[in-house]
């Protein structure tokens, strides 16, 4: 009897655990050294979807993914406004290449630097590229890897969450 009740108690309590991942609190910097705490992505009043794209300067599928999205960026923003953060997971070997590469390719995304991959690790991201879409502080879409055509699924998610 006691055993059954304890099992019930643990099960009921487990139901209350939110399995949907919240964004952990990590300090990142932008390209001019301004700090940003990733807690801001948990804002439940934020109406616009937020895209977090994890990439690195040495990752060819990541560059292809971001270049593809850049080509459609203006028209996408006109249809459904959203915020887009490209989070560079480059370590100190290549981190200095982030700014010239981003500017050299003419990308217009907000760039954040995750130097020792603390944010990537805290979100349990195994490999890059990985894209997360957040809506009101909740992760509504997660995708890893990039092959041409995958961007269409992202555009659909952005349209349905606007």
């Amino acid at each position: 009897m006691l055993k059954k009740l304890i099992i019930t108690a643990v099960c009921v309590s487990f139901i209350n655990i939110a399995f949907a991942q919240q964004i952990p609190s990590i300090q990142l910097t932008d390209l001019i050294g301004k700090k940003l705490n990733t807690q801001v992505f948990n804002d439940s009043t934020q109406q616009q979807p937020i895209v977090l794209a994890f990439w690195a300067t040495w990752c060819l599928p990541c560059i292809n993914e971001l270049s593809t999205i850049q080509d459609d960026y203006e028209s996408l923003q006109q249809k459904n406004a959203f915020q887009f953060f490209a989070i560079a997971t480059d370590d100190s070997r290549t981190i200095k290449k982030v700014a010239p590469l981003v500017n050299g390719k003419g990308w217009s995304f907000s760039i954040l630097l995750d130097v020792n991959q603390d944010f990537k690790r805290a979100l349990n991201i195994a490999n890059i590229p990985t894209i997360l879409v957040l809506k009101k502080g909740k992760i509504v879409y997660k995708h890893n890897g990039f092959a041409k055509g995958d961007e269409q699924k992202l555009y659909e998610i952005l349209a349905t969450n606007n």
């Binding site: 952990p24 609190s25 370590d91 200095k96 050299g104 195994a126 041409k148």
Partner: protein, 548 residues
């Protein structure tokens, strides 16, 4: 009745406790089943266990300001090929308890943690599962940023090695001060930083127990320009040869690292220059120079282009920061630099076409340190700014062009000089030129096909290679791929081998499963400028990962 009341109270209490709790985690499992296919045969000590698996289960539990987490790992029946023998069986790899207060900006961790001071020259701990690097520190870490311009970090503990810890005890403090945040300057951005790291180790036969590492840094940005400089110094530590310390010979070491950059819309240039002398630091001295990067505390990566294609990754440079009196190649460090240029030709111009043309250029050159070296007496004196033997140089040009909404291609040419004597302490040097032509075609209904062909002309070592790969994307969930590398120019007929791989990936949302069969070329596998050697092998391979 009493039991019921207690249980109801228990349920109520747990519900309050768990009502704001969050559980997240991930599982990653990488397996290989080796096959003797007649051409590729594993070494007899490796062939005894043909099935290999590395599995990582990570769980993080967050309740208000507290988080706890574990990472369980299994290397059973045996770890993947060429992983450190310290990764064996199953166990708890890491665990932590963390307190995080966002309003006071204080973060404290007990257990395992990862950290990097500055560029990582004096301390970097991180995890790279493909390289078999898992060198978190187990101890205490406190980060304070209550006064916004100043970020302070203090840590104390021992570094992880497999399922145990290395002998040395690491104590470190780091400070980063953003001066422009104090002066409220918007035109200039200044920041300075400094680190002190002490390694304390009681090793039999070693007289010097404490080694201090220091780092000073400055970073300046103004408008389109930026520059960073870091100087790191290591106190003299006894020479270690074959794992045995020799108290008669002690050498200090240092690193000068300068970075200059400029970037504006459609143009970016970056220059790295570095001089490294005897700067490889381990948290346990008798593992100095081990092949598995176990116990490595300093992060001195190769500052060269990280290539994307299989043939351009045959001759990969490894930073030469180690002092060695090996008669094959006596060396104390390296000096050199690399430059990157990124440029996008304006869209709607003759050369830019409708979407613009992207050009990336990289060049690098790395030499040993010139000086007087006496191998028998274990003495040397390196010149400060004089280059010695050429270790490696490379230049590459990549042009990427989107021709229409559904067709993109890129063309890459690379030239590399690689001296295996200086880099690997083996024999030979090679000059290799590689061409890569890569194209992607969009097909209807979110499908696409990518295809590349590669050729390498090399005057020595493996000689010429040809390669091709293709990837067909049926949807955002399904991809099939095939690749073949053929060393047709090898002087040894038995080494004229096709390294082919074919497989598929299934990747719905946060789940990924990849299965393949084929042959893996042997050589250095490098990520982030750190390399590990992988023997050539043939068979099945599976990668699975899922996060929640």
């Amino acid at each position: 009745m009493y039991v019921k009341s207690v249980t109801i109270f228990f349920i109520f209490l747990l519900n309050i406790l768990f009502s704001k709790a969050q559980l997240s985690g991930s599982i990653e499992s990488n397996s290989a089943l080796f096959v003797n296919d007649g051409k590729i045969v594993l070494a007899s000590n490796e062939a005894t266990q043909k099935l290999r698996n590395n599995t990582y289960l990570r769980l993080d539990y967050k309740l208000k300001k507290f988080s706890v987490g574990i990472q369980a790992e299994s290397y059973s029946p045996k770890a993947l090929l060429n992983y450190s023998p310290d990764f064996k069986n199953a166990g708890l790899g890491t665990f932590y308890l963390q307190y995080n207060n966002d309003s006071l900006r204080i973060n404290a961790t007990i257990g395992h943690f990862y950290e990097q001071f500055g560029n990582g020259l004096v301390l970097r701990t991180w995890e790279d599962r493909q390289l078999g690097i898992a060198n978190s520190i187990m101890g205490v870490q406190v980060k304070i940023n209550t006064y916004k311009p100043l970020q302070l970090t203090a840590l104390h503990g021992k570094q992880r090695n497999g399922f145990s810890l290395t002998n040395g005890t690491i104590t470190g403090i780091n400070a980063e001060l953003n001066i422009s945040e104090i002066t409220k300057s918007s035109k200039w951005q200044y920041s300075i930083g400094g680190s002190l790291v002490n390694r304390n180790e009681h090793l039999i036969g070693l007289n010097k127990k404490n080694i201090l590492l220091t780092s000073t840094r400055i970073s300046i940005k103004k408008g389109l320009f930026y520059t960073d400089f870091e100087y790191a110094f290591k106190q003299a530590e006894p020479l270690i040869e074959n794992g045995i310390p020799n108290n008669n010979f002690s050498f200090d070491g240092d690193v000068y690292l300068l970075n200059l950059g400029f970037s504006k819309q459609r143009l970016g240039v970056n220059l790295n220059v570095r001089r490294t002398e005897n700067f490889t630091v381990y948290s346990q001295q008798n593992v100095y120079g081990n092949a598995f990067n176990a116990g490595i505390l300093s992060y001195v990566p190769a500052l060269t282009k990280q290539f994307d294609y299989s043939l351009t990754n045959i001759y990969v440079y490894m930073a030469q920061s180690r002092l060695t009196f090996n008669p094959i190649a006596t060396k104390a460090g390296e000096i050199g630099g690399q430059i990157d240029l990124f440029y996008k030709i304006k869209p709607k111009t003759f050369l830019g076409g409708k979407y613009g043309t992207q050009i990336s250029i990289n060049a690098s050159k790395w030499n040993g340190l010139s000086g007087r070296y006496n191998t028998t007496q274990r003495k040397y004196k390196a010149n400060f700014l004089q280059a010695g033997t050429l270790n490696y140089h490379e230049w590459s040009v990549e042009i990427r062009k989107k021709w229409s909404k559904s067709y993109v291609n890129s063309f890459t040419i690379t030239n590399q000089f690689y001296d295996a004597v200086q880099i690997e302490e083996t024999f030979g040097h090679v000059n290799a030129t590689t061409f890569v032509f890569d194209q992607t075609i969009d097909l209807p209904k979110q499908k696409s096909i990518r295809f590349d062909i590669q050729h390498q002309w090399a005057n020595a070592i493996h000689k010429n290679w040809i390669a091709a790969s293709t990837e067909i994307n049926f949807s955002s969930k399904w991809t099939v791929f095939a690749t073949d590398l053929y060393n047709y120019g090898n002087d040894n007929t038995a080494r004229k081998i096709h390294y082919y791989v074919a497989g598929f990936a299934f990747k719905p949302n946060a789940f990924r499963l990849q299965l393949s069969y084929g042959r893996q070329r042997g050589g250095l596998q490098c990520i982030g400028g750190i390399c590990r050697f992988v023997s050539e092998n043939a068979g099945f391979s599976m990668q699975l990962n899922y996060s929640f």
